[in-house]
């Protein structure tokens, strides 16, 4: 009987009974978070590129300016609406609301990826904007001066640098997503947190189950944040003053150094 057990015993009892449920829930959580963060990043970078396209009142044709204006307004609305409203309500509207009003029956997984991705995208758009601001404007000028278009300059010069700057933020967003997928229980996605709710609703052992899920969440987030840190380190590589061996390179290129 669970009533006679100590806290630790209860944890082991729960694990033994619901262990695989927790693991499956964690898997669901991780898949949704990873995929959606990835898609969200792409959305964020795209919107970053578009939002920073410069408009030249004198030069650009009216059509282009109006079109760009419209796209920008749509982007702003997208960002503000999806950042500005709770994901749980968005999920309900998209999954049940669409079914009721438009008769569109999205699959549970489709809806899950959709909702989390567009949310992450909205947040990432702002993060990317911050990252772009923080890149020295001289970099953009350098890129333009060799004839790059805005998009080329963004892709080749600005975003790679902005990316490095917002990598900690991407880590934040991934971790937020790992936790926020819990709201998808409203569209019957059985993620880790839903398993916790079920278990504590079946056994009324809230703290014990909470301890387990905390440990699982922590494991997942620790691993992801460790991996991201390694990635950062790798990107920074040269900060450790990597050797530029004059002689070696010279001979390797078959050139004699001129001085």
């Amino acid at each position: 009987m669970i009533s006679n057990m100590s806290f630790i015993e209860r944890i082991f009892y729960i694990l033994q009974k619901y262990g695989t449920s927790y693991l499956k829930g964690a898997g669901t959580t991780l898949v949704i978070a990873l995929v959606s963060t990835f898609i969200g990043c792409i959305i964020g970078f795209l919107s970053g590129i578009i939002q920073t396209i410069p408009v030249d009142k004198r030069r650009d044709p009216l059509v282009k300016r109006v079109l760009l204006g419209i796209v920008n307004v749509i982007l702003r609305i997208y960002i503000e609406v999806f950042r500005g409203t709770p994901m749980i309500v968005q999920a309900v509207f998209i999954y049940y609301g669409l079914a009721q009003v438009c008769n569109v029956q999205l699959g549970m997984w489709q809806a899950a990826f959709l909702v989390v991705s567009i949310n992450t995208g909205a947040y990432m758009a702002e993060s990317v904007r911050g990252g772009i601001i923080s890149v020295d404007p001289g970099q953009m000028e350098g890129a333009k001066a060799i004839g790059m278009t805005h998009v080329q300059a963004m892709i080749n010069v600005i975003l790679p640098q902005a990316f490095r700057n917002i990598l900690p933020q991407i880590g934040n967003n991934l971790i937020i997503n790992i936790k926020d997928t819990s709201v998808l229980s409203v569209i019957s996605v059985v993620d880790l947190f839903f398993v916790h709710k079920s278990v504590s609703g079946a056994l009324y052992t809230y703290f014990e189950s909470a301890t387990i899920v905390m440990a699982i969440y922590l494991t997942m987030t620790l691993i992801t944040s460790r991996l991201l840190r390694l990635w950062e380190k790798k990107m920074d590589g040269g900060d450790n003053y990597e050797l530029v061996d004059v002689m070696d390179i010279g001979s390797q290129l078959g050139k004699k150094e001129s001085r």
Partner: protein
């Protein structure tokens, strides 16, 4: 119900195909067209009404899109309805908040989740006849000043709470004199945590939940004033627990009612007794 395993597997396939072809016209047509699937939504986390378990012990039903199984009083009722009406039962595990949008949008056919039938709710969904009559009891900690309360009067001044959207919270707490009513709790587990931690002196809930709570928290005490004249006063109507379906889905509601009419209060109680005896806590 689950005895006809092979048969239901076939009908499930057929039903799936039928569902695809009729997708455009919405899920609510499933029942109307006599399709063989009954989608029932519940939290699967509110023992002994409904809970999640890792295996199909005692005749538990697989949860849709999950490897776990659901069982409990609500599932027993659902199985009985499905068997009698010739549906294949599908349990959809959903967060409490989403139960109503799900049934209103037709994503599920009905909700069997211990919902009280109130006049306000009847405006938005249709309810079946009661499938259980809830009792009202209090829960306190054994070392609490209210542990020996013999009636409502003894609870005077207690800090108390209950679950969100229940008659216990909406109607019962206010009957305690000078009660310090705290905001409602979203779920039964959270409510019990509040009591256990000493944040609240008393929670009010129904008998099955309270019994489960006492099993999980041995230091809790159940206060049952029924039979005394200082009990919580609730009308029969208020303690009705019903099954909700989309408004206007008369065919389904009639079917459900026809099943429930065959059952007596004693049937309900003995089913509940069975649920309590097989709930995970009882192991």
């Amino acid at each position: 119900g689950c005895g006809s395993g092979t048969e239901t597997a076939e009908t499930e396939e057929a039903a799936g195909a039928a569902e695809e072809t009729t997708e455009a016209s919405g899920a609510e047509d499933d029942a109307a067209e006599g399709s063989k699937v009954l989608k029932v939504a519940m939290e699967c986390g509110y023992a002994p009404y409904n809970w999640t378990q890792p295996d199909d012990a005692n005749g538990a039903v697989p949860i849709n899109d999950s490897s776990d199984y659901a069982y409990g009083y609500d599932v027993m009722i659902a199985k009985k309805i499905a068997d009698t009406l010739g549906y294949e039962l599908q349990i959809v595990k959903l967060d409490w908040d989403a139960l109503i949008p799900a049934v209103q949008s037709g994503t599920v056919d009905c909700v069997i989740a211990g919902q009280s039938t109130t006049a306000e709710r009847l405006e938005m969904v249709d309810f079946s006849k009661p499938y259980y009559y809830a009792t009202v009891v209090g829960l306190v900690k054994q070392d609490s000043a209210y542990a020996n309360a013999a009636g409502l009067a003894d609870l005077k001044g207690a800090t108390c709470t209950s679950q969100l959207g229940t008659i216990w919270y909406d109607n019962c707490l206010s009957q305690i004199e000078d009660a310090n009513i705290q905001p409602a709790q979203e779920s039964a587990p959270a409510m019990l945590v509040a009591l256990e931690s000493g944040r609240t002196d008393l929670v009010v809930t129904d008998m099955p939940t309270a019994m489960a709570a006492c099993a999980a928290y041995p230091d809790m005490k159940l206060l049952d004033f029924s039979g005394t004249d200082d009990d919580f006063s609730v009308s029969d109507e208020e303690v009705n627990i019903g099954i909700s379906v989309q408004k206007g889905n008369t065919e389904l509601i009639d079917g459900i009612n026809s099943v429930l009419e065959t059952m007596t209060v004693d049937d309900f109680n003995s089913l509940m007794q069975e649920a309590i005896s097989v709930q995970p806590l009882a192991e």
